[in-house]
């Protein structure tokens, strides 16, 4: 794995952000209401941190394991857990697991491959891009796929089948989901989630 960042020291910055978002002692000396405390934190975060951009890539050679979802997600969790609050972390990790699972299954047919992740995190939202470079066996621009309004509608079309819930779940979790397929070059999913 390689890790590069626009910031010189991502881990300490991530720790600081996590602390600001979670540490109630931050303004214990003040008599601000919870709401005012929250706003003060947001103002401070906005002032010191317009945005963080993190990009990194995995290939199975780097991980030294068979191309499985779980080891990749472990690395992603290490990056995201310090900068996202509890429920956001759980949901966004889950959405990313669905995306990674689909890439491994559909782009790389469970063989070796490279996946590039870009996270752009502000105090208000997180934007994520995930790229792979495999040959999609089918159009992954998702025209119609995963557009089911309800689970019942989805199950009616997929009775007795195990697969296909991932895209449905990604759309449930994220506010915006966009697919871009450039044959022979890359497949990219861009997602956005509000954090406030």
């Amino acid at each position: 794995m390689y890790l590069n960042s626009m910031m010189p020291d991502l881990s300490s910055l991530a720790t600081l952000i996590g602390k600001l978002l979670t540490d109630d002692s931050f303004s214990r000396e003040q008599t601000l209401s919870d709401e005012a405390q929250y706003e003060a934190r947001q103002r401070l975060l906005n002032a010191i941190l317009p945005s963080i951009t993190v990009s990194f890539a995995f290939s199975t050679d780097d991980l030294g394991v068979p191309f499985k979802v779980t080891p990749i997600m472990r690395r992603i969790a290490e990056i995201l857990e310090p900068v996202l609050s509890g429920e956001h972390f759980l949901n966004i990790r889950l959405a990313l697991e669905e995306v990674v699972s689909n890439i491994i299954e559909h782009s790389y047919n469970e063989e070796h491959g490279k996946i590039v992740f870009r996270f752009m995190i502000t105090s208000e939202d997180i934007a994520i891009e995930v790229e792979d470079f495999g040959e999609r066996g089918k159009d992954y621009s998702m025209n119609g796929v995963g557009d089911y309004k309800t689970l019942q509608e989805f199950r009616e079309q997929n009775q007795g089948k195990m697969r296909g819930l991932g895209v449905f779940l990604v759309r449930k979790i994220m506010d915006e989901v966009r697919y871009e397929v450039v044959p022979g070059q890359y497949n990219r999913i861009s997602m956005k989630k509000r954090l406030v």
Binding site: N91, K161, M162, L169
Partner: protein, 116 residues
């Protein structure tokens, strides 16, 4: 964290197979879990499935897909999937998907077996 899945048959009759499931229920483990449960249901001609999911630490849609596929298959013969002692991590994903209404939930295996 146990990042693999563990599963074992606790009891089986033609009424129900009782299976314990632990660990990760995701893309990496879904196929083996599904095959194991299918084989048990088939071997014992069980109508219902009681799944002790108290040890499930993490689930993704691939895991939920296993449960839903099994429920839909059993339902064809008026069977049900009953989840026993479900923990927050799995319940959270079921709620996100909107799948809670597909299953019965019980606190113990004994109570689950009385549902049939």
């Amino acid at each position: 964290m146990n990042e693999t899945a563990k599963y074992s048959l606790l009891a089986a009759t033609t009424d129900a197979a009782v299976i314990s499931l632990e660990g990760y229920v995701n893309y990496d483990t879904a196929d083996e879990i599904y095959s194991f449960i299918q084989a048990q249901l088939s071997a014992h001609s069980s109508k219902h499935l009681v799944l002790d999911v108290s040890g499930v630490e993490y689930a993704s849609s691939a895991g939920i897909g296993v449960f839903m596929a099994l429920q839909e298959q059993l339902q064809q013969h008026a069977g049900r999937v009953v989840m026993v002692n479900i923990q927050e991590s799995l319940l959270h994903v079921l709620k996100l998907v909107g799948a809670t209404e597909y299953f019965l939930f019980c606190e113990t295996v004994e109570v689950a077996l009385k549902q049939f």
